[in-house]
Amino acid sequence: MFKATIKSLMAHKLRLALTALAVVLGVAFVSGTFVLTDTIKHTFNALFQQTSAGKDAVVRGVAPYGGNGNGDFNANRPLTPESLVATVRSTPGVTAADANVVGLVTLLNKSGKSVSSHAPTLAFSWLPDRKLSVLNLRRGVAPSGPDQMTIDNGTAKKQHFNIGDQVTVVGNQGPRQFTVVGITGFGSTDNLGGATVVTFDLPTVQQIAGKSGYVSEIDVSAVPGTPSATLLSAIGDRLPKGFEVVTGAEAAAQQANAVTQGLNQFNTILLVFAGIALFVGAFLIFNTFSILVGQRTRELALLRAIGASRRQINMSVLGEAAFTGLFGAAVGLGVGVGLAAGLYSLLSALGVDLPRSSLQFEARTAIVGLIVGTLVTLVSAVLPALRAGRIPPAAGLREDAVFQETSLRRRAVTGGAVFLVGALVLAVGLFASAGILAVGIGAALVFIGVAMLAPFAVKPLVSFLGRPLPALAGVTGQLGRENAVRNPRRTAATASALMVGLALVAAIATLGQSATASFNGLFDQSVKADYVLSAGGFTTVAPAAEGTLAAVPGITAVSGLSQAEWHLGRVGKQVTGIDPVAGPQVMTLDMVSGSAAALGRGEVLIDSTVAKNDHYRVGQVLPMGFVATGVRPVVIGGTFKTNQFLGNYVISSQLLAANVNQVRDQLIALRSAQVGPQMTAALQNALHSYGNVKVQTAAQFKSDQKKQLGTILAIVYALLGLSIVIALIGVVNTLALSVMERTREIGLLRAVGMQRRQLKRTIRSESLLVSVMGAILGLVLGTGLGVAVVSALGTSFITTIAIPVTTIVVVLILSAIFGVGAAVWPARRAAKLDVLEAIYTI
């Protein structure tokens, strides 16, 4: 039987090649993701190890809520008093102890714009002891005094900064002029993963990006040969409560971890899309094996007749699937490595300077890739294998042994059941907040259910859709339509693969459209400002800008909005800081109880719904735990109606500033006497030296936000693109197999006078119908899914349900175009067939 499997594989290698291609693409997505993230992680680990080589110990505040969670270096632990430096330095065994400060600033380039609109600029203190520093001086000298700084080589090259240049840095107090005195590298690279790094001497960096009298950590080097344990305990003994000492290696590992934290999420998101691609691939594989088994009915029946057992037939088909899967997965692994290498270079080309590093191909990548690829193929081939085993030996004697529709009823029942269970799981996931996994499983089951029921829709739907075809394309259109309904299961499975990809597009589009439609209303309800100022991407605005803006004539109120993390017990929450006076003028604070004036008394305002659910009363004390300062008892001063822009907890910006290491504004909101180009120009002028602040009227801000949402949607569509490509490969595959199956018929049509052109058009018509059917199923299902998700989210930031009509129409048209495109190769093959050979094919 093994031999038979091999023979069959060789005989069908072309047909299986396309099947394997689905596995190749899916597995390449998986392995590429792993290799890329592993490589980046490895790179950072190596880098931090390298740069921490001289650090024997690090003294720092104890992170009260654990670890380097959010990737902000030291933002999630309390600052260390500078006075502790002397204590550490005088510890026996310590040769050097330097105060290390890390903060965020904005660096302006030569045209007065922020050097980066998406990554932050990191400000470091220059460590006098060179062994301790993560930075090395490539050129120039160390910064010293209030007007000197260094810039990393990556940024210097890109922005043409040189030693002696005057540059502007926007820090805590606003813009300030510095002279570049040195150019630094980060280990062997020019900068740290694309981030700009500038350094100053300690007092300067404390002023512009930290707090005077405080440092982020103290870096220690010890007498060579001092055992780590001895050093740690010697320093540890001298530290007050709330501070700790760890080895340099441990601190480096944690920092590397913090930098690569975001990668894990990135990894998961990519894997989800890879999973979707494989799920779509499963339809293709299922379909190919079904068709192959159908085409081999006579051969398999013959095998049965000469004594092969049902099990042997099952195993023969599954063996073929295992080979195909394993082969596809192996190729996919290789393609994935190439993909990762390409992306890695692309990131470098985009200015993220990653150190040269060999690609990390871990055993896990190979194991996961091979198992996933083979398993998906095997599982998809189980049903066709079982069907093959059920072929009766007598089927070999009948020439027209077509598939029997015996199980139609059972199929309807099973399909309906799978659909309902899926819908139920989905509903539980969405409305009972059972989590994203339930949503995913539910959606997958719904898709499978619909795919099982789809054969029933083929005839009516294709007949309806194909109605104009005979009129448009004559008999070729009619034949295309007939061919599409000829084998409803096949058409359904092919269309279903496309359905999955397009359903997700439609669902995402519905979400996006609804969010966009809701945004206007939400914004108008929540924001009273005439102008909203913001920095691009992940960057923020120095709060000093608020004072500058307040001085502009015609401006009546200015408030920054800054966010911080706080903890209630172990639960992390967000709080927004606003100006206690101007804040309520620029943001809607619709008080339910208490008063907004409580902000000025250092009290906290709470969303009334949250207050109700958590049984908070005005006057009660809320123990707010801040990472920088520990638990602060804050009196509840009032409750307000939900405001999506403020979140659940609001305090004054002063209270916020007192409890975080560094304040940066996400937004600045203004009221002004008049709105118009003149005022906009005046504001831009006032903030000229801030470099990165976008001055927008409320209306401009709204449309800008919508544009950003559009960008996110575009990225999601691109990630779904692979699934759609796989589905289209499925269309190509099915058509090619159908053409092969109909070789004789094609020969006959050509013999009685069908032109090649007409034959091609016939196949294109069929492809068009199958694709459009898949698109319609997908768009209907996806829009429904989107509406369900939107309704589930109903209470928060999406309030209106909007159907993305334009997207739906565009997708439909594109499906038609790509459907016709998918037919090009099968049609060409069909047209090339020799008439006589074709007609005498058995």
Binding site: V475, Q478, E482, L748, L749, A751, V752, G753, M754, R756
Partner: protein, 240 residues
């Protein structure tokens, strides 16, 4: 030579090359007159099908010429040759003559639909009447018997009023009763509808329906007989 419906001149067809080359047609000269019913006979492998395929524009000669009317098929590209098959030639295969997704009527009118032409109502009616399958027109091929399928195939060959109709053992797969009916149909097509028919057959009885029999052997015309009867054909075959 006047009124030739189809003609082969020094027709040579060689399959393969070198050692394995097979000469299927070895300089064949033959003419089929319009308005007559001809049969081609000969042992298996003598080149009957090859001759018919080349005459019908389904295959090309290695050398020599074939004409449909006075049209030299060798000079045509695939598009024109296809149009010749569609408009000027009718062809009946031994089996699998019909497109399974089309009804009997749609199969019957297929060459016209492919040409984008409307059937001539009167002609279509007379063809359908002659075929005697008026009640099966809406059926798909799978629902028709073998004899009914071949009759639809004859109808399809007739529907364009072609210059010539070829049948490669059109009754080879039928029982003798159905076979006889199909042959009668072809005879009628010649006598009553003025068509030209050439069939390949092994059956001396079938040859008896023809006006003329051409005998092929090893790719050459070896004999011919006018107004054959089954008995004379059997006697001729005994000579081989």
């Amino acid at each position: 030579m006047e009124n030739a419906a189809a003609q082969a001149v020094e027709a040579v067809k060689i399959y393969g090359r070198g050692e394995t080359a097979v000469t299927a047609l070895d300089s064949v000269d033959v003419t089929f007159q319009a308005g007559r019913f001809s049969a081609i006979m000969g042992p298996s492998g003598s080149g009957k099908s090859t001759l018919m395929h080349c005459l019908a524009g389904l295959d090309r000669l290695t050398s020599g010429k074939v004409f449909i009317g006075d049209l030299d098929l060798g000079s045509l590209d695939d598009r024109r040759l296809t149009a010749v098959r569609r408009d000027r030639v009718g062809f009946i295969f031994q089996t699998f003559n019909l497109v399974p997704t089309l009804t009997a009527l749609e199969n019957l009118t297929l060459p016209l639909t492919l040409a984008g032409r409307k059937p001539d109502r009167a002609w279509l009616d007379s063809v359908v009447t002659t075929l005697g399958i008026g009640d099966r027109l809406k059926h798909k091929p799978l629902e028709l018997s073998g004899g009914q399928q071949q009759r639809v195939a004859v109808g399809r060959a007739l529907v364009t009023r072609p210059q010539i109709i070829f049948g490669d053992e059109p009754t080879g797969n039928l029982d003798s009763r159905s076979s006889r009916e199909v042959l009668k149909l072809l005879r009628n097509a010649v006598d009553q509808l003025g068509q030209t028919v050439v069939i390949v057959t092994h059956d001396p009885g079938a040859a008896g329906f023809a006006d003329r029999v051409v005998f092929l052997g090893d790719g050459r015309i070896v004999d011919e007989m006018t107004d054959p009867t089954a008995e004379r054909v059997i006697d001729r075959m005994k000579l081989d």
